[in-house]
Symmetry: C2
Subunit: 512 residues, 2 copies
């Protein structure tokens, strides 16, 4: 989940000052409603050292009624705590209905710092994760709203903050030896965090990543996340109460929570990092560069393909992208010199009747490659969270849970030894128009363009939101998304080939 997080996000002082008063008023209102409706709330702050957890908690509670919450700083266990099961100290701190428990650090300590420092042994981990998930599920089933915030900063930023703290006599003590150690071995610690996020991100207690390089941006995102979670719950409860009394939602007296939920939804989207907008579409190669690089990479891949076969490594390559984004062309160059007995290209059309009569992943499972083979998918299982989502071919619940389902499937492939890479072939709207027109005008390419392509184009913004969310939520270290800057076809094709070649070389290198 940390794979595609954009830590350069910033917010200006002006924007911040404009937004905050409203957010604070909303949170105050929602806290009062939670009290009235007796909703218990847990807010968990986790993340890297010096990411600003304490500061952000201080900022959050400023707009809350102090009689309604308690902040629990979670440090090393006391003697008393050590003498109990590790969840004991958290169970005893769960909030009364209508109150908030805010955790500065939490039960996740056991699978983060304690794991890093080997106080939690690897063989204990499965039971610990089971306990954590069971704890959260039980509280959620009992009506608790559980909001988990993960404050993310990168290694450099963390180092900078530690250095600053250490320069000052008064703040020096705040940086421990452990902090420095975790900074030095940042990647190792980050991979424990990834593991934790993968194993504990659930419908009933989802994680939200907070880009915490910029304090103001983080504050606004935290407020918005909390407001959205509370407003959603309150709306759901009010709706249920309304249904019981035979009222339609519109007839209900208090629609403020519903309004807040919608506003927060919009706000969250505007805070959403647009990964696509970061792509540099001016990247290009001359024809000569292209020829040279292409030739070299194709020859390399030809050899590596044989190597894959001998070493029995399966490869799964998924291609998605804008219509006319260059998927077909890239796949053609990729497979040009590969032995046709060792790969298969699976074009993904609308599901047929038999496919529709199964789980949507079934047809993709069937096409997964055996060891030593390469399966290339021209459009993929990600249709679920793009076209099916946008066209309403599946319910909101269905596409929302698909992120986890897809992550789980790709994890199974990875665990079975597969190299898994997903490409997003990216072009801008103008380039698409140019290509559409070119296709229409060229009799040999006319078959490639349909009315549907033009209709999809009208929904560009909706697709862009969906794609960004998809990239954020399903790019993992074991199955990363690669955004391919595709306005220049030469550049795109070379990047695809190079990515595949490098991934295979890396894997083979690890096996030696």
């Amino acid at each position: 989940m940390l794979e595609k997080v954009d830590l350069t996000k910033k917010m200006s002082k002006e924007e911040y000052r404009e937004k905050m008063p409203q957010l604070e008023a909303k949170l105050g209102f929602l806290q009062r409603r939670c009290k009235e409706l007796k909703i218990p709330v847990l807010i968990v702050f986790e993340g890297f050292g010096a990411s600003g957890k304490g500061l952000q908690i201080g900022r959050l509670i400023q707009s809350m009624d102090p009689r309604g919450f308690q902040v629990y700083p979670i440090k090393n266990e006391t003697d008393e705590e050590r003498m109990h099961p590790f969840m004991w100290r958290f169970w005893t701190k769960t909030p009364e209905r209508g109150r908030f428990s805010i955790f500065d650090g939490s039960w996740y300590r056991k699978v983060l710092i304690d794991r890093f420092e080997m106080r939690t042994r690897e063989k204990e981990l499965p039971a610990v994760f089971h306990s954590i998930n069971s704890f959260e599920e039980q509280l959620a089933d009992d009506g608790n709203v559980i909001i988990k915030l993960f404050l993310d900063i990168d290694k450099k930023e963390q180092k900078k903050r530690f250095d600053k703290l250490r320069k000052n006599k008064e703040s020096e003590w705040r940086v421990s030896q452990g902090d420095l150690e975790r900074n030095a071995r940042y990647d190792e610690y980050a991979s424990m965090m990834e593991d934790m996020l993968f194993k504990t991100d659930s419908d009933y207690a989802p994680w939200t990543i907070i880009e915490a390089t910029d304090r103001r941006f983080a504050t606004v995102k935290i407020y918005t996340t909390v407001i959205k979670a509370l407003a959603d719950r309150i709306e759901a409860i009010q709706e249920e109460m309304g249904t019981k009394n035979g009222m339609k939602p519109a007839e209900m007296e208090d629609t403020r929570a519903a309004d807040l939920a919608r506003e927060a939804d919009r706000e969250m989207r505007s805070l959403q990092v647009s990964i696509l907008s970061k792509a540099d579409l001016s990247l290009k190669y001359t024809r000569e560069e292209y020829k040279l690089k292409l030739d070299k990479l194709q020859k390399k891949l030809e050899k590596l393909h044989g190597e894959l076969y001998r070493r029995r490594i399966p490869v799964v390559l998924g291609f998605e992208g804008w219509d006319a984004g260059g998927k077909g062309g890239a796949i053609k160059r990729l497979t040009a010199r590969m032995d046709s007995r060792g790969y298969a290209v699976n074009p993904t059309a609308s599901p047929n009747d038999i496919e529709k009569a199964h789980h949507y992943l079934w047809r993709f499972w069937r096409a997964m490659p055996k060891d030593g083979h390469v399966a290339i998918f021209d459009r993929t299982w990600y249709g679920r969270v793009m076209v099916e989502r946008i066209e309403g071919f599946c319910t909101k619940e269905e596409w929302q849970r698909a992120y986890k389902e897809i992550n789980d499937m790709e994890k199974d492939l990875h665990d079975a030894g597969a190299i898994v890479i997903k490409f997003w072939m990216h072009i801008d709207k103008d380039e698409q128009e140019r290509r559409f027109k070119e296709r229409q005008e060229n009799p040999e390419k006319q078959w490639k363009i349909t009315d549907e392509d033009w209709r999809n184009r009208e929904k560009w913004d909706q697709y862009e939101d969906a794609v960004n969310e998809m990239l954020l939520r399903t790019s993992t270290d074991y199955a990363p998304w690669v955004v391919v800057e595709g306005n220049d076809k030469y550049y795109a094709r070379v990047k695809v080939l190079r990515t595949v070649v490098e991934a295979i070389e890396k894997r083979i290198g690890e096996m030696k």
Copy 2:
């Protein structure tokens, strides 16, 4: 889950012949309804070798339309299968909507036989369990009914069956070296099965244990389990369709599924093993025996209590039982010589307002002992699945998920090193009446008896069903239930003391 299974269950030929024609007709009908409603169904047969999986599958499909199902025998992986992720061969065998996939052996092979034979390494297990649960959850979310049957026989019965097969030239081949090995190390294999059941028993794909010593009993229970699961789902779907069309359940044309669901529910209950009815309530000690044993055990416990403290072992003892079953008296004898600084008796009354404002387990978590201490609960968290269930103090959903919640809590205690034992103080109805009357007549004991006790007594049968289900579903190797034969108070008190003493001695023995 296997802890309290009664493998002596039998069914007479007459009863079997009377029941089967109806069950077969019901299954046939439900299969047709599943087809009409396009419900996909998975039925999994797992269990010990020679428990009769193949035979029972044959019996089950006799009443099914062969065009609507497929049976998949799951053996060692083929070369093709071995070259794919391990879930691949199961994904590709998932049923089309309206059809049945029946698995003779299944994905559980990976955490049973393959684990036993060390083809699955211990460090792979967490990921494998994650894959299994994800697979089942995804299919359930997609509308599949998942029925998992675990056929249970004991070591002796298995040996007998293997011997019989091996005597005959024609069936000799059916007993493999692996089978014999698993029989020889039956307990070890059974504990892997327990682990598997604990980790994969879920709302969306629950396990049903089939007592398989007697073939006829097993067949009837399997039919009933399948019928119940299908009828429940069909009823739910019809109800939803009815609600959409604005009909009340009673107005719906087809109430047959609802009827079948209710009948199957009753049938399941009658097949339910009554653990309580097996208790031998004639067990007793003379006053002299009692005095002698009590004195000896109390002295032992006094010493062991100090040992617990030195070794920092926490102990959790839960007492439940019929009103006037002798809980108080047993606890008094138990603690008679224990150092009062090292134990606490927690009487559990109705929850107060603050307790009600938390998760029902919260107040018990708070009272859990620290290392080296003993916590005794006079009535426990099991109120959830007894009085709260029967009096309607919580919803059906709430008490149904409580079994897992409680198992998880006790697992946390166990993982933290605690000895956990639960006692059911058992008396029969006549003995209860005798004790109630005695209390009423004795001025010093009158306070102990209230109108509520008499009211509860009227619900004896309901309680007995609830207690049996509780004992079956929450007696685990890490936190067993002990049924204490309590008509004779002397016997009961000694048995409680002896159980505690032995459990502590065993634990200390393991530490040496």
